[in-house]
C-alpha cells in the first residue's frame, strides 16, 4: 500500500525538465498526454513518415494490452500492423529479417518478462548482424519495445527490469524513457537509429504519467544523459520510472539542506559517461538507483566506471539503492522496491560519510 501511496504523487504533473534542460522541446507546449498515448503518437508518426515501417507483436492489432498501438491497424492497414503468433523468438527473428531487407520493424514484446525466448535472436543475430557481415548487411531498422518495471501487483512475471542483460551486448542499444514527452522523442530516435534498439517502457507510467507532449515529429538524441535537476552535494543517476521516486527523495533532501543533482541516463547502452563524470567531479558523491536486482545490475557498471574516472574526487563510496536479489515478489513488493526513504537515507549517509 505504501508503494501505491508513494506512486500516487506522480499523478500531479510530472518531473520538471526546466532545471538544466538543454532541449528546446521541453519548453514547447503540446497536448496533455499519458505515456501510452505519447508512445502511440510516436508510432503513428513513424508509420506515417516511412511507408516501409511495420508494427507487430502479440495483440497489437486491436490496440495492444496497454493500448500503445491503438488506431494503427485501422489507419495503416493490416499488412503493416498485425498480430503475430505467440512466440517471442519468432517475433524478433521475423523482425530481424524484415529489417535486414531495409524496412523498419517495430516489434512489441508484451512484457519484458517474456523477452527471454528472443534473447538468442537479439544477442547472436541482431547485435552481430552488421559486424559479422563486414557491413554488407545490417538490421538497424529493428526496434524492440517492451513494457518493464514494477506496477504494484505484477509479481514475478509482470514486473521485471531486464535491462542489465542487454547492456552486456555490443551491437545493440538500450533506451529507457522517464516520461511521455521523453518517450515520444526517444522512441522516434530509436526507430530511426541505424542500429537495433531495445526500448523498455515503464509500464507503471502508461497511465500515471501525464505531461504536455508536442504534437509534431521530434526526436531526442540517444546516448545523451540529461541533468534534470541541478545540485552540488551529490549526484543521483537513474532511468525510467525510478526517477520520480528519486526526485521525491531529492526534494526532501533539499529541505534538510542537501543539494542533489539528478541525472536521467536515458540510453543505457552506449551510455553517456561524460555527463555523469562531469557531475560527480562537481559533487564528489554518487548514488545510483534502479528497480532491477542490485547484484549485476547496471548500477555496478556505472559505479565501476565512475570510480575509474573520478576516484580522487570522491568523498564517499558510490551508493546503489536497488531492488533486492530475489525474484520480484508480490506481497513483499514494498519491501523489495528501492523506495524514496531508502534513497533519502542513503543520500544522508553518503553526504555524512
Amino acid at each position: 500500500m505504501a508503494a501505491l501511496l508513494g506512486r500516487s504523487c506522480r499523478k500531479l504533473g510530472f518531473l520538471s525538465s526546466g532545471h538544466g534542460a538543454r532541449r528546446s522541446v521541453s519548453t514547447e507546449t503540446g497536448k496533455s498526454l499519458n505515456l501510452y498515448s505519447a508512445i502511440n503518437q510516436a508510432l503513428h508518426i513513424a508509420l506515417d513518415s516511412d511507408p516501409r515501417s511495420f508494427v507487430f507483436g502479440e495483440d497489437v492489432g486491436f490496440g495492444g494490452v496497454f493500448r500503445c498501438t491503438t488506431g494503427l491497424a485501422e489507419r495503416f492497414g493490416k499488412n503493416r500492423v498485425f498480430n503475430t503468433p505467440l512466440c517471442e523468438q519468432g517475433i524478433v527473428g521475423f523482425g530481424i529479417g524484415l529489417a535486414a531487407m531495409g524496412n523498419r520493424a517495430i516489434v512489441e514484446i508484451q512484457f519484458a518478462d517474456y523477452i527471454y525466448p528472443a534473447f538468442d535472436q537479439i544477442v547472436n543475430e541482431a547485435a552481430k548482424f552488421r559486424y559479422r557481415s563486414g557491413n554488407q548487411f545490417n538490421c538497424g531498422g529493428l526496434t524492440i519495445r517492451a513494457p518493464y518495471g514494477a506496477v504494484g501487483h505484477g509479481g514475478h512475471y509482470h514486473s521485471q527490469s531486464p535491462e542489465a542483460f542487454f547492456c552486456h551486448v555490443p551491437g545493440i542499444k538500450v533506451v529507457i524513457p522517464r516520461s511521455p514527452r521523453e518517450a515520444k522523442g526517444l522512441l522516434l530516435s530509436c526507430i530511426r537509429d541505424p542500429n537495433p534498439v531495445v526500448f523498455f517502457e515503464p509500464k507503471w507510467l502508461y497511465r500515471q504519467a501525464v505531461e504536455e507532449v508536442p504534437e509534431h515529429d521530434y526526436m531526442i538524441p540517444l546516448s545523451e544523459a540529461e541533468v534534470i535537476r541541478e545540485g552540488n552535494d551529490i549526484t543521483l543517476v537513474g532511468w525510467g520510472a525510478q526517477l520520480t521516486i528519486m526526485e521525491q527523495a531529492c526534494l526532501e533532501a533539499e529541505k534538510e539542506g542537501i543539494s542533489c543533482e539528478l541525472i536521467d541516463l536515458k540510453t543505457l547502452l552506449p551510455w553517456d559517461k561524460e555527463t555523469v563524470e562531469a557531475s560527480v567531479k562537481k559533487t564528489g558523491r554518487l548514488l545510483i538507483s534502479h528497480e532491477a536486482p542490485i547484484t549485476g545490475g547496471f548500477g555496478a557498471e556505472i559505479s565501476a566506471t565512475i570510480l575509474e574516472r573520478c576516484f580522487l574526487k570522491l568523498e564517499a563510496p558510490v551508493s546503489r539503492i536497488c531492488g533486492l536479489d530475489t525474484p520480484f515478489p508480490l506481497v513483499f513488493e514494498p519491501f523489495y522496491m528501492p523506495t524514496k526513504n531508502k534513497i533519502l537515507d542513503a543520500i544522508k549517509t553518503t553526504v555524512n560519510y
Binding site: G97, L98, R132, F137
Partner: protein, 467 residues
Amino acid sequence: MALRLRSSTSKSNFLNILRYNNLGFGTASHAARHLRTHDPTLLRVSQNPISRFCNTMAEKLSSVGENEDANAQVMDFPGGKVAFTPEIQFISESSKERVPCYRVLDDNGQLITNSHFVQVSEEVAVKMYSDMVTLQIMDNIFYEAQRQGRLSFYATTIGEEAINIASAAALSPQDVIFPQYREPGVLLWRGFTLQEFANQCFGNKSDNGKGRQMPVHYGSNKLNYFTVSATIATQLPNAVGAAYSLKMDKKDACAVTYFGDGGSSEGDFHAALNFAAVMEAPVLFICRNNGWAISTPTSDQFRSDGLVVKGRAYGIRSIRVDGNDALAMYSAVHTAREMAISEERPILIEALTYRVGHHSTSDDSTRYRSADEIEWWNKARNPLSRFRTWIESSGWWSDEEESDLRSRVKKEMLEALRVAEKTEKPNLENMFSDVYDVPPLNLREQERQVRQTIKSHPQDYPSDVPL
C-alpha cells in the same frame, strides 16, 4: 499423366488457373462459405481472392454442410466447424508407409520412365555439373589445407553437392538466401569466386566479412546471400521476415533458407514455419536431411517420418526429394519457388541425402559410424556420378571435358589458396568498426587503449595484422 513442365520463367498454365479463377462468394464452396462468415481476419493479408483455408480443410466437410441434420453433426468452435465422432479415435503417430521420395534419375543416373521433371537446357545442366565438380574439388583442397595447418578450420559439403547446386540453379538471382553453413554451392553458382572463398577462410583484407568470423562463414550482399552464423536454425525466422518484405514490395522473388535435420529440432524451426504460414510468406524451407547432426543420427533427433510430415502441422505444403538427384532437386525447387511466389505461401522441401564428410575438421566421424557406410554413400550414391551419367547420355559431356575441368579447377584453387594465404589481414581498425553504424565513445577509447598496449608489448600480438 506424363506432364512435362517447362523450365522457363513464365508461370505454368496450371498455376494461372489457380490465380485468376475467382472462387469467391458466388460459388458453392461450402467450406469457404462457412469460414468466411466466421473468420474475417483470414482475408486480411492475402491478396489472393481464394481463402487459403479452403485448400487445407478436410474434403469431407463440404458434404456435411449440405445435410439437413447439419446442426446435429457439426460442432462450431473458434477456428471453424468440425464434424464430431462418438468414437474415441486417435490420429496415429505415423502413417503405415513413409512419405515417398521424389526422384527422376535412378541410382545409375538413368532417367526413370514417366517421371515428371522440369526441363533443363544443356547450358544450365553443364554449369550445374561443372559447379558440382568445382565444389567437390574446392572442398577437398580446403580440407587438406586445414590438415596441413594452413587453415584453422573447414567444413565440407561432400555428398550434398546436388542439393547445393541444383537448388541454386532453380532460383533467380533476386531470391534472398539465408544459409546454415553447408551451402557454399549456392554462392558458387551465383558467381562467388574461388579466390573469394579462400579470402574468407583466411580472413584476409579482401574478405567481405573483414576477418571477423571463422572459415566458411561466407556472405555476399551482391549475390543476395546473407552471412552465415554458426547458431543453428536462427536464420529460419529471419528468412520469413525477409520473405514478407519481398511480398510487400511485390517482388518476383522469394526467400530461401537451408538447414539440416538437426536444425529442425530447434525452437526457431517451429517459430519460423508457424510464422511463415500465418504471414503467408513466400519462403522455401529446404532441409538437408543428411542423417547426422555431428554424431547424432536422426533416430536421436526426432521420431516423426523425417521432416516432410511436419509441414502439414503448420499448414505448409511439403515435398520429400532425393537430395542426391540433381534433376529432381532442380525440379522440386523450381516448382516450389513458383508456388511460393504466385500463391504467397511457404513450401517445405525435405532433401534426403548423406553427409559423406565429417561434420567439420574438428570431427572424426569414424568414431560414431562405420567407414564402410561412408564409403558406400560416397561411391554408390554419389550425386556427381549420377548427374554425369545423365548429361553424358544427353550428349552434353565427355571424359575429355571432365579431365579438363578438373585440372583447371584444381590449378585455380591452389592458386587462390596461395594468394589468400599471402594477402595481409585486415587493419586493426576493423575490429572496432561496424559494431554500430558509427563507433561509440567507449569503442574509440578501447581502440586507443589497445594501440597503447601494442606499443608496450608488441610480442603479444600477431605481426600479420596491420595497425
